[in-house]
Symmetry: C2
Subunit: 385 residues, 2 copies
């Protein structure tokens, strides 16, 4: 009898999406920054203590909007991990700036702040840490360097909505800029969507212009002018209110969603514990005081051989996993820019041994037991206990 498939990800629906989206359609006001968008913005600002939120078509575009606001220009350098998605680096390269890759801390797979200082040059303008798998980066150490060196920080928080740094500070609430994703693969989704958080008050006025295709239309909407025109570079960094309506339905259930996912992290941690203790594998080690949103769970194997074997056995059981990022320095564009494995040795090493396990909101209710049992069997087969 064939195994029932366990996908890597499955979209969760709260049940309120259809009601909201129908309401948005009937409103006949479907473009960006309308009623549902405003509600999402208020919810995000109030719940997470963000100074100002702009909904965007994607986290990718939020990052690009942030890069414009940071005034990145050719000649500038930006420090970021190689272990991230292409959107983190393209936001930099699209402005003509140069990415400088920093290695990661294997306990979190996030940028290692101890390695940043030596990469800062007179050309450095910004640091872009990411919160891998929803585990917060070490924002305090990063902000200390940024403040000392007068750099901007944009947190690529694509995966970390509802994760918290120590002292109950939401991911995205600390740096100058932060970007979130509401893509289909995220805890909270509207299909394609994102948000740019701006905590630096000096960047907000320009953001309204950049979001509106580089026009000062927002001044007309506020009644301060009677016509608008081409004032700046910019794009259509706007999320349709139809998607905002869907997003609101999900945001309002964020605690319920996080609680469902917590059970999965707990089960994976329980399963992995004895192999971690014996040094066979490593799993996420969020620092004390942080709270995670259970976006993802990874296993770093002791060897590439065992990772490959694990992937093969999982596939045989129709359980889908994900190998994580192909690090930026090691692929076509990174190689073309002249990056070498020795620039980021930890990334180079670990990115070949990591696997992300299935994790989606509904999994605990359907499939987790089999998933954990099968993974346990595979571990036993590999490590002999």
């Amino acid at each position: 009898m064939p195994f029932p498939q366990i996908p890597f990800n499955r979209v969760y629906l709260t049940g309120d999406e259809e009601r909201n989206v129908i309401d948005a359609i009937r409103s006949r006001s479907h473009s960006g920054n309308r009623d549902y968008g405003s509600k999402c913005i208020t919810l995000l600002e109030e719940r997470f203590s963000f100074l100002s939120v702009f909904l965007t078509p994607s986290c990718t575009s939020a990052m690009e909007m942030g890069a414009i606001l940071a005034n990145l220009t050719p000649g500038d350098e930006v420090i970021l991990p190689s272990y991230t998605f292409s959107s983190t680096v393209n936001a930099v390269v699209l402005r003509g700036a140069r990415p400088v890759f920093c290695d990661v801390d294997p306990s979190t797979m996030n940028i290692d702040p101890n390695l940043i200082d030596q990469l800062v040059s007179p050309k450095t303008k910004m640091i872009i840490p990411i919160d891998y798998a929803g585990v917060p980066c070490d924002i305090d150490s990063i902000m200390e360097i940024a403040n000392r060196r007068q750099l901007l920080v944009m947190q690529d928080a694509a995966q970390s909505l509802n994760s918290y740094h120590s002292d109950n500070r939401a991911c995205g609430s600390v740096p100058h800029l932060a970007a979130f994703s509401f893509h289909e693969t995220k805890n909270i989704t509207c299909g394609e969507g994102g948000a740019l958080v701006i905590n630096d008050p000096n960047l907000i006025d320009r953001a309204h212009i950049v979001q509106e295709k580089g026009t000062d239309r927002s001044l007309v909407l506020k009644g301060l002018q009677n016509k608008y025109g081409w004032s700046d570079i910019g794009s259509s960094f706007l999320l349709s209110d139809i998607l905002a309506a869907m997003l609101l339905a999900q945001l309002e259930k964020i605690e319920e969603i996080t609680a469902k996912r917590r059970k999965i992290t707990d089960a994976y941690n329980h399963l992995c514990e004895k192999y971690v203790v014996q040094g066979c594998i490593q799993t996420p080690c969020p620092p004390p005081g942080v709270v995670i949103n259970h976006h993802a769970f990874w296993v770093i194997f002791d060897s590439e051989k065992n990772q490959t074997l694990f992937l093969k056995e999982l596939r045989a059981r129709d359980i889908h996993s994900y190998i994580g990022y192909v690090s930026l320095h090691s692929y076509e564009m990174g190689l073309k820019m002249g990056y070498k494995p020795e620039d980021v040795p930890i990334t180079e090493d670990i990115s070949k041994r990591i696997v992300r396990l299935p994790l989606y909101t509904d999994l605990a209710e359907n499939g987790l037991q089999r998933c954990v049992q099968e993974i346990g069997n595979i571990f036993e087969g590999i490590y002999g206990f």
Copy 2:
């Protein structure tokens, strides 16, 4: 008794949007390039003879995707009208290239091909004509210049879906690249959305990479590779399938929508005829053989004074109109770049005398009679007959 308001635009719903969108939500596959997206792409390619269509979050982003595919780089020049929206020019400026503004033909308000040749320099890489108000640009003359000078053409067809050049060739089907808008203000809308049409087969492979955040993920989806990474610059040029579901409902009724709008153009033409004959106003004069989609209707007054008077009288009757574009050369960014009124004298002159009248799909059934009568009264008041 107050007049019932007549807005400038009002979104039309075909009645099929909710069914499609609910189906898309329940599919749990909401990101870009899913089932509804594929259906929209097939419909657009087949109906309009486009070689290849990519759905994007907006026409703005479609233009930016096209600018990346055109390999625009700093030092390049691009010829475009000043009488257009900021998104046309920002697609150029975001790549570091320089816009060169060309004047327009007052009969269509589109780029005047007779003026293009003298603006071409060794640095020129592309021409971006627009189809103002849905009236097709003179694509044959533009393509003749482009072919002779080895330039790319990207048609900003934001407003001209279902308009046709002579010989039944759809707007967007002739040049190398074309961009369409499905913004709330357009004939066919999904709130925020767009499409890039690629008719040059040499640009298609790269487009799949650029659309997917600069990764070769499409090769994995086709089974040609088992991992993907950072291969190029790019962005998230993807339209959520929830919006594609809405879009399909509208695209399937495109003839019905166009027919409803045709009645409004006819009524406005009938109303304006005697004032046009007497030289008081000018109205759109599409060239023989073209077919328009009735996106918009404009009136160019004989003086700025009469335009201002007309606008004041319209407002007094709660009829909303639109002054059209504030031309690019005349606003903040254009001035900063050193453009002067004498560079585009026709644009400079006419952009101060033009008004766009209310035009939306439902208008003929509700409000058109009063609208035409009131505008007739205002014309009579201004011109005395």
